[in-house]
């Protein structure tokens, strides 16, 4: 466990599935150098196959006894999808094959292949919601436990989980060990890569790109032990933000406000079934555990309180009048850490991932 832990809370009631976070992350980190197929941040439709395909069934994580569970490494083409491109250049240039607009490979699968499909029968009881996912920067990471090379580490300063690319040799046990399949293999450099929680931004007091760009203002970022932080209040004070699939035993540090509002179902004649809800509580329980009942109860009670009295700290938090109200990154903290460790305040707080660091050392203990 690290000394402090950065956390993110995502309010699923506000996610509109616009993929702005996905694009922000992709352009910042993964549109090049063998990362083209990776989505460190993705937004999937739930219920759905997710990204990579059926990730919840691919193993990893820990059992109740604390033993790491074996897992399966997804296939790039079948489970993630080859990132295809179109023949824009020849079309624009009026070249021979420009008659057809076609992708450079025949795509058989890709992220969001089943976007907005959801489940149920339209219009009676169909439903879906969006589930944005990044690395959970777990307190007990499956990827870290699986690595036989000690190439994955969790930063003491803020609990960000990183891959030391100098030590990584591309064995991919981390991918099998991560129950969220949020660590990826870069086939070009034969090493694993993952979400870094935008630590170079965070160290300078900026929120991660996905959170900064979020148009729905669903993402809160801060330190869990900072009682003034939005994440502390949502996770610990009001207990309305819950980890995704906590039953995997990795203690995730990305939390979700479960979706509470959904329209009523229609009967065969298209009339509203009073008191019904499209979102089955069993599904929410599967994703967020039994605590979801309490979280929904609190959310509904605070909503009611706000309606009646006009006052609710929780509702004010969730509305997020100013985007800057969603982040408490405490940027002096990293400068203090640098000072304590006699490091240059402009250098990253942890340099373990910097290539070549261990070249001469006989061991790494």
């Amino acid at each position: 466990m690290s000394k402090r832990q950065l956390a993110m809370v995502m309010d699923l009631n506000k996610c509109i599935g616009c993929q702005t976070c996905t694009v922000a992350c992709k352009t910042q980190w993964t549109n090049r150098n063998g990362r083209e197929y990776m989505y460190w941040n993705n937004v999937e439709t739930y219920p759905g196959t997710g990204y990579p395909k059926n990730w919840m069934e691919l193993g990893g994580g820990f059992d109740a006894a604390g033993d790491l569970q074996p897992g399966v490494i997804p296939n790039l083409e079948a489970d993630y999808g080859v990132p295809w491109d179109y023949n824009y250049e020849s079309l624009m240039g009026g070249q021979a094959d420009s008659n057809n607009f076609h992708p450079h490979v025949s795509p058989t699968w890709g992220p969001n292949w089943d976007e907005d499909e959801g489940t149920g029968m339209f219009p009676q009881d169909n439903y879906f919601f969006y589930l944005p996912r990044i690395c959970n920067h777990c307190t007990n990471p499956g990827c870290l436990s699986a690595c036989p090379r000690d190439a994955i580490f969790k930063r003491e300063e803020d609990g960000v989980v990183l891959v030391d690319l100098d030590r990584c040799q591309g064995y991919r046990y981390c991918i099998a060990g991560c129950p969220y399949k949020k660590i990826y293999f870069n086939p070009k450099i034969s090493k694993s890569e993952k979400c870094i929680l935008c630590f170079p931004r965070v160290e300078q007091g900026l929120p991660p790109a996905c959170a900064q760009q979020c148009v729905g203002r669903i993402r809160f970022v801060g330190f869990l032990d900072d009682e003034e932080s939005q994440v502390h209040k949502l996770v610990h004070k009001y207990k309305v933000a819950l980890g995704l699939r906590s039953d995997y035993g990795t203690q995730p540090n990305v939390y979700y406000i479960p979706p509470t509002e959904s329209p009523a179902k229609f009967d065969a004649e298209g009339k509203i079934i009073e008191g019904s809800t499209r979102l089955p509580i069993e599904e929410l329980e599967k994703l967020f555990g039994p605590e979801v009942h309490g979280a929904i109860k609190t959310l509904k009670a605070e909503m009611q309180k706000r309606k009646e009295t006009g006052v609710s700290e929780l509702m004010d938090l969730l509305i997020a009048y100013q985007h800057s109200d969603m982040f408490r990154l405490d940027n002096n903290y990293y400068q203090q850490v640098a000072k304590e460790n006699k490091r240059n305040p402009l250098a990253p707080v942890d340099t373990r991932y910097i290539a070549g660091k261990f070249t001469k050392a006989g061991g790494h203990h």
């Binding site: 033993d67 897992g71 083409e77 436990s145 034969s190 070549g356 790494h364 203990h365």
Partner: protein, 400 residues
């Protein structure tokens, strides 16, 4: 019935093990420089090949479900090994059977390449015991030269779709097209994969990237399988090789999803440099069988509860507590086995982060070092220890 069958089988292993001693390889002295030697160089006609057996590494089970299914049935492999030296360099050639040619792929997440590695003991004054076979041990470093199979193949969709492949041998492609092709290959980073590591234990393996080691390795695939060659200096800042050189060989099979621990490896094998005085004690240690009584050793192992934490026979139940020992006889020296019984913390077989199996802590960290939770068996009498060592030496997979 099952018990009876197991005991008959293990008896069989005991008998066959008594016959098989590890070979001693002679590195023939040649007058020409070995600097540029490859697997198919003519100079290898001067070499004398010996058969070395490579056993599947089963000490630690990894968490890749598919790979575990594939490797469960892997048997020991025979490799032909020869060596040459020119006074400055040592060259090692390894030939092993592998029907499929699995290359390092640059557009897939689930393919693995064939490869081989040669491990040398680092420069230490004490010859015995040699470093732990699994990438050395604390204070006893090793240098590992690794070569993975690569080839300049540009595969647009990574599908192993032969019709879509373009390769350099297509003579219709030349000039600018060939340059374009090379650029595409380079863009895919499908380049040579040769690495040198220094390690003091599996976890500690560290790539040497500063050019302080000269290494020239290559692989060639033919109908009989792979040939892999390695040339390195006899002396540099990491190793001082002379007289008798202990080496160990590992091979990986990409079609079994082989990588890191999922490999076949040999025990330490002695290579005598022709024209130099061999280290008789080391040669004897590496090429003769354990002297104890294996049948008595098996009884002693049971009496002392080894199977409480270790999987001894391949048919026994698995345990996360201690490393599985059902191939330990294949890739361990008697000295290592003796040391592990008497001083369990001398080498703590490095495994996962302890979090992986939090309920079965096989080590504790004391003063920054891993201290084994295994009981110290130094109270056993010498003969019993030798018997257990002899028994452990019989634990190995049958040969393919």
């Amino acid at each position: 019935m099952k018990k009876l069958l197991t005991s008959i089988l293990s008896l069989g292993v005991v008998c066959s093990a008594a016959l098989a001693a590890e070979p001693v390889i002679t590195a023939v002295k040649v007058s020409e420089s070995l600097d540029a030697v490859k697997a198919d160089s003519a100079v290898w006609s001067k070499a004398k090949f010996e058969t070395v057996t490579l056993y599947p590494q089963t000490a630690i089970e990894f968490n890749d479900k598919k790979a575990n299914e594939l490797t469960a049935k892997v048997k020991a492999k025979k490799a032909q090994v020869a060596a040459l030296h020119d006074g400055k360099n040592i060259a090692v050639l390894v030939k092993w059977a592998d029907k499929t040619k699995d290359l390092q792929q640059c557009l897939t997440s689930t393919s693995y390449s064939d490869g081989f590695a040669v491990q040398f003991a680092g420069a230490t004054k004490k010859a015995e015991p040699l470093p732990y076979i699994g990438m050395g041990s604390s204070g006893r470093p090793v240098v590992v030269h690794l070569q993975k199979a690569t080839e300049k193949v540009y595969e647009p969709n990574g599908n192993k779709d032969v019709a879509m492949q373009i390769n350099r041998q297509q003579t219709g492609v030349f000039g600018k097209e060939l340059a374009d092709f090379d650029a595409k290959v380079a863009a895919l980073a499908n380049t040579d994969y040769e690495r040198v590591f220094v390690g003091e234990g599996f976890r500690s393996l560290t790539e040497i990237k500063d050019g302080s080691v000269k290494s020239n390795s290559a692989m060639a695939h033919g109908p009989a399988g792979w040939s892999g060659s390695l040339v390195r200096p006899l002396k540099d800042e990491y190793v001082k090789l002379g007289g008798t050189v202990p080496v160990s060989i590992a091979v990986w099979d990409g079609s079994n999803m082989g990588r890191n621990g999922l490999k076949n490896l040999s025990s330490w094998v002695a290579i005598n440099l022709e024209g130099q005085k061999p280290n008789a004690a080391m040669v004897a240690e590496l090429s003769t069988d354990a002297k104890g009584n294996a049948a008595k050793g098996k009884e002693a192992a049971m009496m002392n509860g080894c199977n409480g934490c270790h999987q001894l026979e391949a048919t026994d139940a698995k345990s996360f507590m201690g490393p599985a020992l059902h191939n330990v006889g294949g890739y361990s020296t008697a000295a290592y086995l003796r040391e592990s019984i008497l001083k369990p913390s001398a080498v703590v077989v490095p495994g996962y982060n302890r979090n992986a199996h939090a309920n079965t802590p096989w080590y504790n960290i004391e003063k920054g070092k891993r201290v084994s939770t295994m009981t110290d068996f130094s109270f056993l009498d010498k003969a019993t220890v030798e018997d257990i060592v002899a028994y452990l030496k019989t634990l190995k997979a049958e040969v393919e």
